[in-house]
């Protein structure tokens, strides 16, 4: 197992470096915005571009970039969006807001989604199942920003239960902050709940009809015991990767939800970096998400072994 993990980490590193290099070259290949003729600032921008090595070969530029990270953990300085600021500090400053909103969201969406899925599966082909399944389809079909606008209009404007936007500041665990992020949490939650509900229902419905479930019942287990001990564990082989996927989403953020509720997160950072050709921010966010994605993939693979003991990682047989 350990050997398998180490091997995967080594592969991860190679894949990470390849993605990093490809991203670096591709973003640098994008043509720089034309500088306005006769604008006096054109001269200084040309000088700056020259100093930043934009005319140097890509390999040389990449080497300087890597050297900065390895020797000083220097991810570079923002040249467009946050001029002069260290991009790592900008990224880290914005990450908590995204994480806190998404974390609160999944903390209640996963249990609720799974619970609804279990309930629908257990009540298969009853009005409960039909209601949950229909609502699930409806909710999944509507993008989260639609809920965001409805929630903001109803709960914030008409009923005045919550502030319109996320509270400023970094007191992420204060009551005032929590109250201010309830609307985005709700907006993010509906789709996730529906997703987990649908997956759980589908998997559990299938498992519940398996022969080993019949065996469990004939051995004398109650329906609840059989469902919890055997059926749920089996269907989690499919559900758990989805949970890990949601955790990756915690860090990724949602561009639209963040905009609507004025959440100072990382949702639109990568897009803004590409639009403005802020190379260092783009590279940091790309590398960050690549690393998280690769690590999550490894964690998901390993988790299979814990959920279903029949699955063995790295086994040659």
């Amino acid at each position: 197992m350990i050997k398998y993990v180490l091997q995967r980490i080594l592969y991860m590193f190679f894949v990470f470096m390849i993605i990093m290099f490809m991203s670096f070259v591709l973003i640098r290949m994008l043509p720089l915005p034309a500088l306005a003729p006769n604008d006096p600032h054109t001269e200084i921008l040309e000088i700056r571009r020259e100093a930043l090595g934009y005319n140097k070969p890509y390999l040389e530029q990449f080497w300087i970039f890597i050297k900065g990270i390895v020797t000083k953990w220097d991810w570079g300085t923002s040249e467009k969006l946050y001029i002069g600021r260290d991009v790592w500090s900008v990224f880290m400053e914005k990450l908590p807001a995204t994480m806190i909103v998404n974390l609160y969201s999944i903390l209640w969406t996963i249990p609720v989604g799974i619970a609804l899925g279990v309930w629908a599966a257990l009540k298969k082909n009853t009005w409960v199942d039909y209601t949950i399944s229909t609502l699930t389809m409806v909710v999944i079909s509507v993008p989260s920003f639609v809920y965001a606008f409805i929630i903001q209009y109803l709960l914030c404007f008409k009923l005045r239960w919550f502030p319109f936007v996320m509270k400023a500041g970094t007191d992420y665990f204060s009551w005032a902050m929590f109250k201010s992020i309830i609307p985005p949490i709700l907006a993010l939650s509906f789709g996730v709940i529906a997703g987990f509900c649908r997956t759980t229902r589908a998997e559990l419905t299938e498992v519940l009809t398996s022969e080993f479930m019949l065996l469990a019942r004939t051995k004398g287990l109650t329906k609840t015991q059989a469902t919890v001990r055997h059926a749920l564990r089996n269907c989690f082989v499919v559900v758990v990767p989805g949970i890990f996927g949601e955790f990756i989403g915690i860090i990724g953020g949602s561009l639209i939800i963040e905009n609507i509720f004025s959440i100072p997160g990382v949702g639109g950072l990568t897009l803004a970096a590409i639009t403005n050709l802020d190379y260092n921010i783009f590279m940091l966010s790309t590398c960050f998400y690549t690393a998280i994605g690769l690590a999550a993939g490894l964690v998901v693979d390993i988790s299979y072994g814990f959920i279903d003991p029949r699955i063995r990682m790295g086994s040659k047989k």
Partner: protein, 864 residues
Amino acid sequence: MSTMKKLLAVLLALAMIVAMAAACNNGDSGTTTGPNSTGGGEGTTPPATEPAGPTYTITEFDPNAKYTYNDWTTSIAGSWNVHNYQSENSNEIFQYLVDSFYTFAFNDELHPMKDPTRTPFDGYVIIPSMASGMPVDVTAEVAAEHPDWVPEGATSGYAWAIPMREDLYFDTGYHITANSYVEGMKRILDQRLQNYRSTDVYKNTYGIVGAEDYFFQGQENFQSFTDMGTTYEEYIANGGSVDDVFMDIGEFWGIETAEGKTYESITSEVEIRDPAVPEGADEDYVSTKYLWDNYLGPDSVSGYYQAGYVNQYAGTVKSYPADVNYDDVVGFYAKDEYTLVEVFKASCADFTLFYNAIQDSLILVEPDVYDSCIKQNADGTWSSTYMTSKETSPSYGPFSMTEYQTDKLVHYSRNESWYGYHDDVNNVYKDPEDGNVYRLYQTTDIDLQKLDGVATAKNMFLSGELIGYGLQAADMAEYQHSERVFDTPAPTVFFSLLTGNKDGLDAREAAEGFDTTKEDIQTILCPSFRKAFAVSFDRQAYCDETSPSLTPAFGIFGRTIIYDPETAAYYRDTDVAKQALCDFYSIDVSKYASLDEAVDSITGFDPAAAKELYTAAFQESLAAGYITDADNDGKCDQTINIKYAVSNTSINDATQLRLDWYDASLVEATKGTPFEDKVHVVGECVGNTTGEEFADAIKAGTCDLCLAGWNGSAMDPYNLLQAYTWDSYSYAAEWYHPKQDMLTLTLNGETVTMSVYDWAECVNGNDVTVDGKTYNYGTNNADQETRMLILAGIEGKLLQTFTYIPFANNGGKSLLSWKVYYVTDEYNAVMGRGGIAYMKYNYSDAEWADFCAEQINANGKLTY
């Protein structure tokens, strides 16, 4: 008697109580005795700080009340370093943290204009702010000490001494003196930092003498002919040598020489690897001389010479001496502790001096904080975190930054160390309503938060959480008649930019896939078609239907363009400007009671004339062979699909609305003509661009139409002419040649004919020689009436190109919260309505919260 004594005692006691109350009173009804109201005024020198003799009392605002200005924006800048900022968003952040030597103030009894007929708050004056008096011309003195700093023989206009107040401080406690500005100048010109705004200091027309030499010391600097505002041919014609011409190989090839230079002489025979050519193929190694002789130069063997290309990639290189001493070179120094001397590259005075030359707020920084923010990056470059956070943003303006969260919020509170809160001379005004004298800035706090959508902003505004809300088209029905709606005009005119690039249109028709039997595009070139197009659109309807912020436009210059900054007079309000429009739109002024009535009758929309012109255009196009009428039915066989350049990767709803409107207008206008249902507008996405690629498509003729406009030069329409007459700026450079378009004007009894280009040059202060006589109608050589005649003449000529078809004046309509009010409702292009400095409050924050709660409980929202 005892009763009298008792009464006297009671009266005395009452009097003492009243006196004590008055002495202790710090409420909003309190007053402070002020000095003589002699401050400011054009050309006057106000007393330094404490002139004797109070003649008015200042009504103080309640010091215990909090007045918060809640603003919002769609984007909060991530950096607002005054030395390095690149966008208006940054200016939005630092504007409250800085101040200037001189400032604009509404004219009132305390700050009167020279013209006695002006009524309070209908104009503005320039008054000292951080300066203690008006600048003193020290050109002669400086010329004697530094003869190389001013042109030989010059005795005025180049060097100015600015007396400074002595009570200036940063909120860090740093005391500001003349030397502080010198330190700021050294830092903005710090070669390591390559500050974006350094060019404003060394390169502008009114740049500081010697700043360029200090900035580039020990370096060589390549400048293309385009950057220099000239051409290769002009350079050679003016005595320039080919030996001094270099090619920008860094831009051209993306490479540098073995010595690390990105430019190479066009006479150099050193062979350079051309990365675009495979190794071993012909011309894989070429010298710049070879390239110039064979391809680029005017006498190239291939004949490929293109002036625009050469001017972009060729230029000259200047070498700067190394190890220069700041004091010996830069004309920006402290004469004494509180007197700063600035020596400019060009002569300036009055408005030009205050508005264009003195860029003090750009220069001053808190040196200790600034130096602590500089660091060297891994790639060897240097950068600064100055003014990127609350901690690194020292203020010497009216507010201090007390909170900043990236992409979320900025909060400001009063900067108590700002001199203005204790200045009884310049930072006061007489309220036109109640006649009391108040200090500027009743606002105690400013909250600027980032909001993405107008829907959120609108709901927050209606909940009392924002001070203003810009109305959208959908809001007009509900709010357009509200007493809280304010119209804010902008100087920009949006025009329908119609291509005239024949080569581009020919190329499109010749391209594979273009079926000339079914389609045509060259008809756009026909003069009658262009005229017909211009009168096919009901501009008023467009503005009403699409955006409440727009109003119909009929001229090249907008309604708030000021031609005389000294008097704040609008060009569009002048008779010559009105007459120019009447002439262009063929309005017979004699049929109207006045010129005003005549110009008011212009709509720019004439369906009958359009139909006649389309019919004439049909004949022109047939004659030119652009279109056919094979069956002689008097109808065009081809469809003309006019491509509208969309600056995006997809067409959004707003753009589609515009396209549909254009198309429907043309369909209606061509009904009953040979082009009936044959002229349409279709969207063509040219990519999601931040530049002007959409306009480039029109220039090149790959697209035919777009809505465009020029920003800036709101107080200098003469300067704005360059946007139309300089090839490097002009959208129409490929088909409209201002140097060949002649214009005859009669000025002061003399009839003069010269090209539009030359008129534009000489009205901007450049010498132009015609038939051996030199003309210069610059600001120092001609009166405003003469200059305006030239401006109106050029405007008429530009309109006649039917390339710039005026469409709409930019502007905005917004709702203002009940919480505040403007001291004047009249909009002034320079002062606006006074901004935060003059803003008054109906409610303090606490009172406002109560008011909102009451209103919302009753109505569900605030009503406007």
